[in-house]
Symmetry: C2
DNA sequence: TAGATTGTTAATCGATTAACAATC
DNA sequence: TAGATTGTTAATCGATTAACAATC
């Protein structure tokens, strides 16, 4: 899946930054494959896919690699996002450290509730009817959608019409991407369910192994 | 990947509940495959994997299917979780509607900051030194980890020692699972990065197609 | 019976890995 | 030169799909 390579590129970058801070100048595909628990072939293949080349015998130059990965991940410039729906979750994400650490800047929040509007805050919270103009003027491409469940589909459609190309959807109902609007569904309940399922199935395996032995 | 089948089981359940509310009594693998955008073979294979059988010609009984899926997903009983780290994100998750809708109950929050402690709240917020006893007494298996980045690894280790078997990790640094403690890494910055990457690569494809034609 | 749908096996597809020639 | 690591091709693996016999 295409998503997997993006994930790995990001992981490579994080590892490389640590290695760089330790003073390493070169890195080999074996180093990265060890760190990520994958084969060195895959590391080299990923780099080849991204037109990143190394030196036979000499490996890859850490600094060049980081710079190249940053460009690929769009980190050579600040990535602006907006948050649509400023309830508890929306507000929490507005101050999320992980975004700031990764060059992602929350340009504004939007809400229908007048009581939540505050256009003077460090990250302004604006009324939804300002959405279209803001997206156009600021060239916003990505929005986080944290409105209540029943407002999700309407707002999603609105965002699409405003020309948004990427949406991180926190609603429980998964939404499919369209050619001009990618949607990533983050369902926290689903992630929790996975954990319970994994715990139960691991326990069952342990049991049956116990019986077998 | 094993995760994918869990995701699909959860999706089947959601679709089935909608179909049931529309009055449908039976469902065919083609119905579900259409809804999920997968092949009907996969639907039948998933059910076979879970020892769910239908009737040749008659399909599957919606009610039985939902009940079976609920059991598989552990939804026949309430699933209790705790939230470790009650900053903005932790507090937002404490009231997350998606959890309540899916039979997931937040049993308590934990924090090191005395100012945040409130053992009388509907969902009590307790000091971290009560963690071990609480987990033991309440039989908690799953924790959401929403502490600051630099406290993540320490707290993770502590949770493992307390006998937690599943952790949803919101820190940027991915953590690997161990045999007795499954970790799901939810990196919101990574999800946003994926969106930007997808947008850029889609735009490039559109361009090159334009050139080619 | 004829028709439709499951359950299951074989085929396909894509992602990952192994292997190794090229070469620094 | 000898040794080590890349770049790339072939092999493997797992997940998904196609196909079809079984059967309701």
């Amino acid at each position: 899946m295409e998503h997997d390579i993006i994930k790995r590129l990001s992981q490579y970058k994080k590892i490389l930054q640590k290695l760089q801070s330790l003073g390493l100048v070169r890195v080999f595909s074996d180093n990265l494959s060890d760190a990520l628990g994958i084969s060195s072939s895959l590391v080299r293949k990923d780099f080849a896919t991204c037109n990143i080349t190394g030196k036979r015998r000499g490996g890859y130059v850490v600094e060049e690699l980081i710079e190249r990965l940053n460009t690929l991940l769009g980190k050579d410039q600040e990535q602006q996002i907006i948050i649509v729906g400023c309830g508890k979750l929306g507000l929490a994400l507005m101050n999320h450290k992980g975004f700031a650490n990764d060059q992602i800047r929350v340009a504004a929040g939007f809400d229908v509730d007048p009581a939540r509007i505050n256009s003077d805050a460090p990250v302004p919270i604006l009324p939804v009817d300002k959405l279209a103009a803001f997206i156009r003027n600021q060239g916003i491409q990505v929005a986080l959608l944290t409105v209540p469940e029943d407002a999700t589909l309407t707002m999603l459609e609105h965002l699409r019409q405003c020309g948004i190309h990427g949406i991180l959807n926190f609603a429980a109902v998964p939404v499919k991407s369209t050619p001009d609007c990618h949607v990533q569904n983050v369902s926290l309940a689903l992630e929790v369910e996975k954990l319970f399922y994994l715990i139960v199935s691991t326990a069952e395996n342990a049991n049956s192994e116990g019986i077998a032995s």
